[in-house]
Subunit: 155 residues, 3 copies
């Protein structure tokens, strides 16, 4: 029987994708005691960037939120893989770092990153409430609009 977090994902209609390990010397997830650090995730789907462009010119806040939510889905996919498939081992979400690729007059970074924060609470409930910093960048890898990294507490 699926644990409560998996049930929440199912209820949300979210199927966590298969993960891809980077062809590089960093790892998607790194454990230290009861913490797991997840590397910055971008809004990719099926191996391709689903969004490329900047907030304030190419993308609206709503589109940015969808991109941030997709980053969060990818975070959870990497986390599940790191926990050998068992999301029940998650105790809580400690921190999200939200990086928004934005024009210099863009102001709504927190609204964009809410796309990721909201998913964490949708999946983990109160245990999903996390500390956060949302900031603007004038470039991101492959010109994606959002990148989000994370720290989780796990068993």
């Amino acid at each position: 029987m699926a644990g409560k977090f998996e049930q929440n994902l199912a209820r949300l209609g979210i199927s966590l994708p298969a993960t891809v390990a980077p062809a590089a010397n960093y790892v998607p997830a790194r454990r230290l005691g009861n913490q797991v650090y997840i590397s910055g995730q971008v809004p990719s789907e099926a191996g391709k960037d689903k969004y490329t462009g900047k907030l304030g010119s190419d993308y609206t806040v709503e589109e940015g939120q969808a991109a941030a939510r997709l980053c969060a889905v990818n975070i959870l996919a990497q986390l599940k893989q790191a926990l050998d498939g068992d999301l029940d081992r998650v105790v809580g979400v400690i921190r999200l770092g939200g990086f928004v690729n934005a024009e210099p007059d863009f102001k709504d970074h927190p609204k964009v990153i809410n796309g990721a924060s909201d998913l964490m609470v949708d999946v983990f409930g109160e245990a999903g409430r996390h500390a956060r910093a949302a900031v603007g960048c004038y470039s991101l890898p492959r010109n994606v609009p959002v990148e989000v990294d994370a720290i989780f507490e796990v068993n």
Copy 2:
């Protein structure tokens, strides 16, 4: 009798403001064992942004330092709230993350973030000496000039 950190704040003439919890799915402070992660704080006062604009055009380094110091005051207000009012439970400041909203030719990010770092040592003494990264952003939430997040060690 106020503990030594509270006495330092009083001596500095700093009254920590009442805190506002964000109307969102993230929290201002998140505990993990003996660590507390404080979300990115901006230079707001009495519920309004005291500064909006960019270093290198709208603001001088000195103004940026004052803004960074106000971010640090807000960090301490959130920390005190998270510790149920007892700043004596602070063991030390582990890390500050300093984000400076700046023009592309701005170079003095460390001087700006010193406005926050100096306050931590003013309040906590040697225990306030922390690791840090100071970087430039070309946009920040609501166009504030500085955002600072923090990690503390607590009892």
Copy 3:
């Protein structure tokens, strides 16, 4: 007899420089239990910035990688100092934060930060594989092209 990490450095022809403590209220390395947080390091050598300028205009990806590698050398120098000269006390590299000073159409931040990530694995082997976030900034201290901070697990 030098430990295995020191031997790796020697084999790579890397001599860790003498460290400089910042003339400020932050520290290059901050310990919390079995974690050491290293402050953001820039590509300086012998007390001067070896590189200043932006990726995508002043510097190619290859030049950025060399700058990132120099940041990593400086990280290791600060870490060794913090461990009283004994790099054998390193258990592993937990996370690198990579900040790339780049033009708005620059896309290859991960390739640049690989300059730092690759050094960590060159020195620490599998224990050097870390979580990471690579993002773009439109300014960095003194207009350096890269800044990298780090978290290590130590004994």
